[in-house]
């Protein structure tokens, strides 16, 4: 079974047209000793059986229906309206490719243009591309842009930027002349944790190409970024802002208004469930003077021969298929279908809906903190936060999380030792509009029991 419709009679007739005896004759350019290996694969499964098999694999995983979950850390479970997946299952969207022939792809191109417009409106920026792979690679590309722009070697990156994003940026720049300096942007005081802007401000100098901060930061804190932006301006460094959770933009001042030159982030949560971390969709938005340095596809509005409004891929001389080794990036395929989901979701939620789910996320997180405090927990976060905060676990985050799951049947959060060993006694707890009162009760009860 291969989904191939040709019959043996078709093949025989086609071979006659080609002028060869057998299909084997088409493969004679392959060195003879390496032809026709035996592949060691399990037997083919019909549709019913493969669905059953995948269902069995799925049953080995705990979903948020099985265990109340307070996991966030860059991947959030948000409300995605039902019409989104109905659209994403339309063949016209998901079985098309990059709109190289615009006359046959006006749907995809207009949706890209609307996506770019929505991203600009959400972030306060002026230009958005049509997406990159994920938030992490979007940050790496932002750092590469700033390096090319400023020709300066240093990057000042806050420790409170998502640790996986920092890791990916390290990989992407490993073969290039880039010095990533991770600055402790949060400090400990006993059981608590609070922002440390001064260390970031002090780290920015005349060799700094950009400073990277996250908002809300990885610990959930909403920090006054103005001193950082001012310091960057003084030294001619660019400001890159990572958006922690796109829903926060329903409530918080957009990074463009705070002075960001580049805004990146992960939009997956607007389009569907976390799907074990991928496919995501990397947001990448800039101020207009950087437009010709942007990596990846951009849709533009134009007219056709008859003067009718239409859309097309634009500024393609930035891209690898034209510019080759001088391209702004090697990216080609991006995450179009996920961004389409985000576009439809934002359209259906609209102005009021996005604000409401942002407020509900904030509400749920603050109630979760109150309930945990009521169960004897010490809330470590000593700063305003949006929908995520840190809890102190004196015996160690890993051990506490393990007990909370085994004895309390909750996924209470993420072990913050992934940020720094200094935080190995902190647990990051996230809540969204999908967090229920009974989830919070279960969390508090589990905490009280696990003490």
């Amino acid at each position: 079974m291969s989904y191939a419709p040709n019959t043996d009679a078709d093949r025989a007739a086609m071979l006659r047209t080609v002028g060869v005896e057998s299909i084997d004759d088409l493969f004679v350019d392959i060195p003879v000793q390496h032809r026709d290996p035996t592949l060691d694969l399990p037997p083919a499964l019909p549709e019913t059986d493969v669905i059953r098999h995948l269902g069995q694999l799925g049953a080995l995983n705990a979903t948020s229906d099985d265990l109340p979950s307070f996991l966030g850390a860059g991947f959030y479970r948000h409300f995605v309206p039902a019409l989104v997946d109905q659209q994403l299952l339309r063949s016209e969207w998901y079985t098309a490719y990059t709109p190289y022939q615009p006359e046959m792809a006006q749907g995809t191109l207009q949706a890209m243009y609307e996506f770019q417009s929505l991203v600009c409106d959400l972030t306060g920026m002026e230009v958005s591309n049509a997406s990159l792979y994920d938030g992490a690679s979007a940050l790496a590309e932002a750092i590469l842009l700033c390096r090319g722009l400023t020709r300066r070697p240093r990057v000042v990156i806050a420790e409170t930027v998502h640790p996986a994003y920092r890791d990916v940026a390290t990989t992407y720049t490993s073969a290039l002349d880039v010095d990533l300096q991770v600055v402790p942007a949060a400090s400990r005081d006993g059981s608590s944790v609070r922002p440390n802007i001064e260390s970031l401000v002090e780290a920015i100098d005349d060799q700094t190409s950009c400073v990277v901060i996250q908002r809300p930061d990885f610990l959930g804190m909403v920090v006054d970024t103005d001193p950082i932006v001012q310091a960057a301006r003084r030294h001619g460094a660019r400001v890159v802002v990572v958006v922690g959770d796109p829903v926060s933009l329903g409530l918080l001042v957009p990074p463009g208004d705070l002075g960001a030159d580049i805004v990146v982030g992960e939009l997956r949560s607007l389009a569907g469930p976390p799907a074990y971390g991928g496919p995501g969709a990397g947001m990448f938005a800039v101020k207009s003077q950087l437009i010709r340095r942007v990596p990846g596809r951009i849709a533009g509005r134009t007219v056709d021969l008859d003067g009718k409004d239409a859309f097309v891929l634009t500024l393609q001389t930035r891209e690898q298929h034209i510019r080759r080794e001088r391209a702004t990036s090697n990216i080609t395929t991006n995450q179009a279908l996920v961004t389409l989901g985000a576009t439809i979701s934002l359209s259906a939620l609209g102005r009021r809906g996005l604000r409401e789910i942002a407020e509900q996320s904030l509400t749920a997180a603050h109630h979760a903190a109150e309930a945990l405090a009521g169960a004897g927990a010490v809330i470590a976060t000593d700063a305003p936060y949006f929908n995520e905060f840190a809890v102190h676990a004196p015996e160690g985050a890993a051990a506490r999380l393990d007990r909370l799951r085994r004895d309390g049947n909750v996924l209470a959060g993420v072990d913050l030792s992934c940020v720094s060993p200094r935080f190995d006694d902190l647990i990051l707890v996230a809540a969204t509009e999908l967090t229920t009162a009974s989830d919070v009760e279960a969390l508090a009860a589990a905490w009280a029991r696990s003490r």
Binding site: A4, Y100, P279, Q320, I331, S347
Partner: protein, 485 residues
């Protein structure tokens, strides 16, 4: 106006689409917990009803051509049928509603799927080690080159150049630059293969690797592959294979057996995960044993009957994705391989190659064939004969649109004048190919008798040809809010 307004134009103050969940808690006023200076005063999103949003995107979708509409022979993109069962399995709640940071004990099925998919891809390609972390082919290329550089470094060697044939995808040279390497272009020999003499002259002590595409973008298998591999290895360099065209080789040859050191696979091409209007893809990386220590981390490992994430490795090139790659696409690719098995995969390659050769044999009377030999999964024709009539390849492509067929990849590879790169894939039937042949012949006749039909094309599409020059000169890349809006 476009004939479909922007979503913003469907907005009306106070109108709303979906409703947010019922409140679970007493509302917390954001102004009580966040400084007012941190709160935005304006959120300029559209306010549209659910039915208007649904109709808007449905009508937009109608303006797209897709594989499920009709033939989509876009060369090097492998626009094969996307099996519907893949969409069902990818939406299994236990495979979709799972969080990357939940403990491995609660994600055994996901880890097992990744582990098993990597093993299946290892069997298919012959390489002992595979990472499915790269999000797309280009990211796989970056991982491949960084792994090669790390290997050289582990042998205390510094190499700063990469050789890339002039027929290569543009991603290859762009990846070379991102890896900090100087890109040296290799000319193609008259038969479409690598010029061995030139290769010898280019291979110096500074060369880290050659990136070759197999079969090449000319749709040709490299007949001198054994000599190429030997020369490259003798110079201490590595052979990287761009595996975008793996669909031609399934069950017919394992690239690792040819001596290739590392290759990436585009799961959205060969392994049927949908192209999504431009992604998401997935770009697995397969390597020989000596490069395994450098693969991206974290890796999924098996410990007895359970699966886990390996401890950080000091040799790995590091992480390239927020978690473990485009997992949803890994589910689809796994479903595809399990559905086809070894015989089905080989049948896919056989029919893909037969279909391409059938087009080659059927169209070579009407179009120039720059490399007249048996091709693999795609055939490259040239519109050079038509150019003498004042018709360009672009015109041929646009005329295909009028006949309801997606044009092939055009003007690529760049070494072929007026190139038309046609990849039918295995999932087109003989009747579908015959229709394509008939249309291509008709267009060849029109080029002779009525070239303006081609110059004016398309006339049966939602829009006619576009003004791309103005779009580039004065970019309009977002809807600009009207004042007071």
């Amino acid at each position: 106006m476009t004939d479909e307004p922007l979503i913003y134009d469907l907005s009306s103050p106070g109108r709303r689409g979906v409703h947010s969940p019922l409140p679970q808690f007493d509302p917390v006023d954001p102004g009580d917990v966040l400084p007012s200076s941190e709160l935005r005063t304006d959120l300029p999103l559209p306010e549209a009803s659910e039915i208007d949003v649904m109709r808007h995107f449905l009508r937009l979708s109608h303006k797209n051509h897709s594989v499920d509409t009709a033939m989509y022979p876009l060369g090097s993109c492998t626009m094969k049928y996307n099996p519907k069962v893949n969409e069902v399995t990818a939406r299994t709640p236990g495979l979709a509603d799972i969080h990357p940071y939940q403990p491995p004990e609660t994600a055994q099925g996901a880890l097992e799927l990744i582990y098993e998919l990597e093993a299946l891809l290892a069997s298919i390609t012959g390489f002992p080690a595979v990472s499915t972390q790269p999000a797309a082919g280009s990211q796989g290329e970056l991982c491949g080159l960084l792994s090669i550089l790390a290997w050289h470094e582990s042998r205390a060697e510094t190499r700063t150049q990469v050789l890339v044939p002039d027929s290569a995808h543009g991603t290859n040279p762009a990846t070379g630059t991102m890896s900090g390497l100087e890109v040296i272009s290799l000319p193609t020999a008259d038969d479409g293969g690598i010029d061995l003499q030139n290769l010898k002259e280019s291979l110096g002590p500074g060369v880290a690797a050659i990136m070759l595409t197999l079969p090449s973008t000319l749709g040709l298998f490299e007949r001198r592959i054994a000599e190429v591999v030997e020369l490259v290895h003798a110079a201490g360099a590595q052979v990287y294979c761009d595996g975008a065209n793996m669909n031609a080789m399934l069950g017919r040859v394992r690239p690792a057996d040819l001596g290739i050191d590392v290759m990436h696979l585009n799961l959205h091409k060969t392994f049927s995960t949908p192209h999504g209007g431009g992604g998401p893809g997935a770009g697995a990386l397969a390597v020989q044993a000596h490069l395994e220590p450098f693969l991206p981390e974290p890796r999924v490992v098996r410990k007895g009957d359970t699966f886990a994430l390996a401890e950080p490795s000091p040799t790995s090139i590091g992480r390239v994705h927020s978690h473990l790659g485009n997992f949803g696409n890994l589910v689809r690719a796994y479903t595809f391989i399990r559905s086809l098995g070894a015989e089905g995969l080989r049948e896919a390659a056989d029919d893909a190659v037969l279909n391409a050769n059938y087009l080659r044999a059927s169209l070579s009377d009407d179009y120039d064939l720059p490399y007249d030999r048996t091709c693999m999964h795609e055939v490259v024709l040239a519109g050079t004969r038509q150019r003498r009539l004042g018709v360009r390849t672009l015109d041929i492509a646009k005329r295909l649109i009028d006949y309801g067929i997606h044009p092939p990849t055009i003007y690529f590879p760049i070494i072929v004048d007026e190139a038309l790169m046609i990849e039918p894939t295995e999932t087109e039937s003989r009747e579908s190919l015959d229709n394509f042949i008939d249309v291509m012949r008709r267009i060849a006749r029109e080029a002779e008798s009525d070239p303006d039909k081609l110059h004016d094309a398309p006339v049966n599409a939602p829009v006619r040809r576009l003004d791309e020059v103005t779009a580039n000169r004065r970019p309009n890349v977002r809807r600009v809010p009207e004042s007071g809006d």
